[in-house]
Amino acid sequence: MNRSRFAGRNQNAVSFRVTERRLGPISNTIVLIVLACLLGLLYLTQVTKTNAYGYQINSLQQQANTLQQQHSDLEVASARLQSMSRTQASTVAKNMVAVSPNATVQQ
């Protein structure tokens, strides 16, 4: 159905021209600025979220270091407790008596 069909007599059509709605330059600029701000906000949100993981990583690394240090300290304590000088100085060792053979068995 084309436009000339309605352009006949007794047709009260005022206008059949289709108006194109266009944004003006100001609106365009504002929309672009808003979009840029939204994108920036989105970027900042993501970056902040990612950087927050840095604190978690840092905290976990500190925990790992603390545990490693505790492990080293325990290793040292264990080695010291088992050292020969400590064993020699122990009550058990002090109460030991030297045994030397005083007879021989002949078979």
Partner: protein, 598 residues
């Protein structure tokens, strides 16, 4: 109409206003754009550097130094570990600024750390310093407790230390780590690169709290690689007892210094190695004499004296110029290059001697005679070349053993070439251990080869290296010379050496009495000491001893060097021999030696 005109005027005014604002906005944005272009493009490098200076954290992450282990029987125990300890220090200026009460700090320090209140008070009130140390090597628990008081101006700093749970055990073999983190002496020096590991790297943009920003793509975080764990061949039981024996004999023999090594004759593994006087590696800075850092068994090359006769005899037997039961007429002196080589009076003068009596009486003329046999009856180029070949290419004297120890000495063997300065006399001297420099370890390795069938194993103190990734490398015995002497020659040597021990036992050295379940042999050495300007001291001697302990076969070789023992008599018999006997008894009594099967 007028209304329409007004409306049109009003619309045009609004548009104009908007256009003005828009123009203003464009101008502002333009100004920002230009400024941004200037800052971000033209001054890019400058502002990038300025920003990085504040935000970039760049540091080296130190690698944990490898630990050192040793054997306790069949199990492995750590003998060097790492521990983070703290230095507590005060900044008296800060304390004054923040009105911290020095008396309270001193009282808390004395209560937590122990020690004298007055010392701490003096430290916290020190003048003209902002770094006054209250205590070093403080444990984490003590540090946390003291820092818990939150005294303004009182600080702590962490520092990694080497920890020696076995005290001074094997101090000279281990060495120590200096303040710069470099290994000094012993294994620490020789294996510094492997023990040190590889430091990591942190390069990251950080926030105000110093926490790396995870979103920064330029961050570099390379974790450190810990140093290798080194397992030594030493047996801590043997080592501790050896150190005690050396300490006791140092006093008994009035020695100037004692070194000894116990070597597994059939693998080259060092089971114990020590020198006395020694030092405490945990407190190496307080060692009075740097000589105490040295492991004499590898650093001290001296003229070994008559212990060399074992090698001379083995070389002569191996060349087929003498046999183990050969007898010969000993004139009790030889004139070589115009000099008189004699024996001691107790040896009984000119008479027929055997190879056994040569060793038992330690005849210098006998060793010279053996050298002569290598030349067909005289000391000439043939004899010198043959003996030099055995010393250098068979017994590897004059070469470092390349053991994992700092400052190893190569020793010295004179060349066989005619030098116009009495080379025949020099070589006659080398046949009985003068004019040649040998370390205890070189002597032990050479003696092991003439006792184990003729195989020269490279002496080694490292049994295993374990890398940070868990992979490991076991150090297998390495054969450097397949046949120093033939198996037949080697089978003759234990009997000759046992004869010497029996001979000395019969002479009254009762401490050489061992159970018949074990074979024990050896040879004394009383070495003259060279004067700096030439010639030898008439009244200064070193006492040496080279021997073995075993059952059916020699199992351990023991070499002892006693520097200038003051005890009377011959230095070898009274300075070296008792130390050997103590060590041999220790090995047998400790169950380290496999007894004879029958």
């Amino acid at each position: 109409m007028a209304f329409n005109q007004n409306k049109a005027n009003a619309g045009a005014g609004a548009v104009k206003r908007v256009q003005v604002w828009f123009g203003l906005l464009v101008l502002i944005v333009g100004i920002f754009g230009v400024r941004l272009f200037y800052v971000q493009v033209i001054r890019y490098d400058h502002f990038k550097q300025a920003a990085l200076h504040n935000q970039l954290k760049q540091k080296q992450i130190p690698a944990s130094r490898g630990i050192i282990e040793a054997y306790d029987g069949n199990s492995v125990v750590p003998i060097v570990l790492n521990q983070t300890l703290y230095t507590i220090f005060a900044d008296p200026v800060d304390m004054k600024t923040y009105h911290t009460d020095p008396q309270k700090v001193a009282a808390a320090a004395a209560s937590v750390l122990g020690g004298k209140y007055s010392d701490y008070e003096q430290a916290v009130t020190a003048q003209h310093t902002r770094y006054s140390i209250l205590a070093k090597k403080v444990s984490k628990a003590q540090r946390d407790k003291l820092m818990g008081y939150k005294f303004a101006g009182l600080y702590s700093e962490a520092q990694d230390y080497r920890i020696y749970p076995q005290g001074d055990l094997a101090a000279q073999t281990l060495g120590f780590v200096n303040a710069n983190g470099q290994g000094e002496y012993g294994v620490e020096q020789a294996m510094n690169k492997q023990l040190a590991g590889q430091p990591g790297e942190l390069k990251a943009i950080t926030d105000l709290n110093g926490v790396p920003l995870a979103a920064s793509s330029g961050n570099v975080q390379r974790p450190p690689v810990a140093g290798d764990t080194v397992t030594l061949t030493l047996d801590i039981g043997m080592q501790a007892q050896m150190q005690k024996i050396l300490k006791d004999e140092y006093k008994k023999t009035e020695s100037q210094g004692l070194s000894a090594v116990i070597l597994d004759a059939n693998s080259g593994q060092i089971k114990a190695m020590a020198s006395y006087p020694s030092y405490n590696p945990a407190n190496y800075g307080n060692t009075g004499n740097p000589k105490y850092f040295e492991n004499g068994a590898v650093t001290d090359a001296i003229e070994p004296g008559s212990t060399m006769k074992l090698l001379t005899t083995a070389a002569a037997i191996d060349q087929g110029v003498i046999g183990p039961n050969t007898t010969f007429y000993d004139p009790a002196h030889w004139i070589v290059d115009g000099f008189n080589i004699t024996d001691i009076e107790e040896d009984g003068g000119a008479r027929v001697q055997s190879i056994k009596s040569l060793l038992n009486l330690s005849l210098n003329t006998g060793a010279t005679w053996e050298l002569m046999q290598m030349g067909g009856g005289k000391i000439d180029a043939k004899a010198r070349d043959a003996w030099h070949d055995y010393m250098v290419n068979h017994f590897l004297l004059g070469h470092p053993t390349n053991i994992a120890q700092g400052y190893e000495s190569a020793g010295y063997v004179p060349g066989p070439e005619q030098n116009g300065a009495g080379i025949n006399l020099t070589y006659a001297n080398t046949s009985f251990g003068q004019g040649v420099l040998v370390t205890p370890l070189q002597m032990a390795a050479a003696d092991a080869s003439i006792l184990n069938g003729g195989t020269y194993y490279q002496p080694h103190v490292v049994a295993k290296i374990t890398h940070a990734d868990g992979s490991s490398q076991t150090i297998k015995p390495k054969v450097l010379v397949q046949h120093t002497v033939s198996a037949k020659t080697s089978s003759d040597m234990p009997g000759l050496m046992e004869y010497v021990v029996q001979g000395h036992l019969d002479s009254g050295y009762e401490y050489l009495r061992f159970s018949s379940k074990y074979s024990v042999g050896g040879k004394t050495g009383t070495a003259q000491i060279a004067k700096p300007g030439g010639g030898y001291y008439a009244d200064k001697f070193n006492g040496t001893y080279a021997g073995f302990v075993g059952g059916d076969h020699p199992q351990y070789v023991i070499v002892v060097y006693n520097i200038q023992p003051g005890v009377g008599g011959y230095a070898g018999s009274n300075g070296g021999q008792p130390v050997f006997a103590d060590l041999a008894h220790m090995l047998i009594d400790g169950g380290y030696v496999m007894p004879k099967s029958q």
